[in-house]
């Protein structure tokens, strides 16, 4: 499934790219990362602790960085296996960096997440939601690391009243909350 997240951070593109290519620093922003260790130039071993409600999975695996497109595009692929549930996770995270001209950079990220095995059967809704939450949490952390997230101007500052709702529709409650916190919009969906 694809999880798309676009967010803006108050830092120039080169600095954002440096951050994303600095795996230990970037990894610290990924919720649940444990034991991140360099294996060779572009490859790291890591364990990712993922919590889906009461379920806890520990994916052991590795992360490979593709800096070939930097600073415009940065791609990281990760895969790991959780022994308890016999599940494997694969994530391809790609980020396009676009400079806004005001010194800030828009990060357009697309994460392709596949979970196979028993956790993959647990429910795509749960997996999508968990992946979305992780990317959002990462975005928030990255924003803080890089000097804060630009306030979002596209979103209404508070949910519209009922009177205005009828007839023109509403953005979702969740989207409202998240949008107000740190980002411009998000989309998750099945592949």
């Amino acid at each position: 499934m694809l999880v798309e997240e676009t967010f803006t951070v108050a830092a120039p593109k080169a600095e954002v790219a440096r951050f994303l290519l600095d795996v230990p620093r970037m990894g610290a922003c990924v919720p649940g990362v444990e034991d991140l260790q360099r294996v060779d130039e572009d490859r790291y071993a890591a364990t990712l602790l993922v919590r889906m409600g009461p379920i806890q999975a520990r994916f052991k695996g590795d992360v490979t960085l593709d800096a070939g497109g930097a600073p415009d595009t940065i791609v990281a692929t990760a895969s790991g296996r959780d022994a308890t549930t016999g599940s494997v996770a694969q994530v391809t995270f790609s980020a396009d960096l676009v400079e806004n001209g005001d010194g800030s950079t828009e990060i357009r990220s697309v994460s392709d997440v596949t979970i196979r095995g028993r956790l993959g059967q647990f429910g795509s809704g749960v997996v999508t939601s968990t992946a979305r939450e992780m990317v959002k949490s990462f975005a928030q952390c990255a924003g803080q690391e890089l000097g804060g997230v630009t306030p979002d101007t596209d979103q209404p500052s508070s949910p519209p009243g009922a009177a205005s709702v009828i007839g023109r529709g509403l953005l979702s409650w969740l989207r409202d909350i998240w949008a107000r916190i740190f980002h411009r919009g998000s989309r998750g969906g099945g592949k």
Binding site: M52, P54, I55, T85, G86, S129, G161, A162, I166, L170
Partner: protein, 280 residues
């Protein structure tokens, strides 16, 4: 090897639970917990059984509320004369959870704490302003059911906290209805569940409230949309517009029970049907 602990009282249960938030799990009816253990999704190190603690399964009423012990089964709630008389929509929702075996064993506290989106009672309880009584290592507190679920299978309960009872306000002149829609077998969990309740002042609706559940990660209270709806008789167009607005406002889940498109469609229909049922 897994440990099975029979605490003497609630305080001991909370203390054991708080020791290891992820490894120690509370067990009451066991329906959800044993299922996840059997499926290999969780492997707790300790089970804290509150199934034998006294005084957590009663249903009582005073002038202002009905209080339901967390260990009351769905069956007990569905067939309780008090609940049937004062909170018929809750009795209805609990009577339609799973099958007769699940209703016999599964408890209200367990249902709420699991925070499965495809559930019936939370939708009704959120709409009725129900409050969870929670006990934890640092004492007791009240937590509105509306603030309990925070996402898929996730709640705002802290480490070591246990739901001990749920209180539901009564006494107002209100009419409520729960509409459940299953998209596949009759035995399916809800694809969409809609609760509507109207508070009356004489023959006039003073306040209308709608909650959408099962189509969304956590029950969606639609006061932002229904807040302005009041009056003697609701116009058909008003109800339809409101139903359409609610179906637009939710962020529907996609799963084997239906796509987001479909859940919006069904939500609009169910909101209309539920509201029509509560309009005198």
């Amino acid at each position: 090897m897994i440990r099975f602990v029979e605490p003497r009282d609630l305080q001991e249960a909370c203390a054991v639970l708080a020791d290891d938030e992820w490894g120690n799990k509370v067990i009451s009816g066991g329906t959800a917990l044993v299922l996840m253990m059997a499926q290999g999704l969780i492997a707790p190190s300790t089970l804290v059984n509150i199934g034998r603690l006294q005084g957590m399964d009663g249903i009582s009423r005073d002038d202002a509320r009905i209080t339901i012990g967390a260990r009351a089964t769905h069956r007990a709630i569905a067939t309780s004369p008090e609940v049937m008389q004062w909170l018929p929509a809750l009795a209805d929702a609990c009577g339609r959870v799973g099958n007769v075996r699940v209703r016999n064993v599964g408890t209200l506290g367990g249902n709420l704490a699991e925070a499965d989106y495809a559930a019936d009672p939370p939708t009704v309880l959120v709409g009725l302003d129900a409050v969870c009584h929670v006990t934890g290592p640092h004492g007791a507190r009240d937590l509105p059911v509306a603030d309990l679920a925070t996402g898929f299978y996730s709640t705002s309960l802290g480490p070591g906290e246990i739901i001990t009872a749920v209180s539901v306000p009564i006494g107002e002149d209100r009419v409520s209805a729960y509409e459940k829609f299953v998209s596949r077998s009759s035995e399916d969990r809800p694809c969409v569940g809609v609760f509507a309740t109207a508070r009356y002042d004489g023959s006039s609706i003073e306040k209308l409230r709608v909650v959408v559940g099962a189509a969304v990660a956590v029950p969606r209270l639609c006061d932002d949309i229904t807040g302005s709806v009041a009056g003697d008789a609701l116009e058909d167009a008003t109800i339809r517009n409101m139903a359409a607005a609610i179906s637009e406002a939710i962020d529907p889940i996609e799963d084997a029970r239906g796509s987001a498109w479909y859940r919006r469609k069904v939500t609009a229909v169910l909101v209309r049907r539920a509201v029509e049922r509560v309009s005198r």
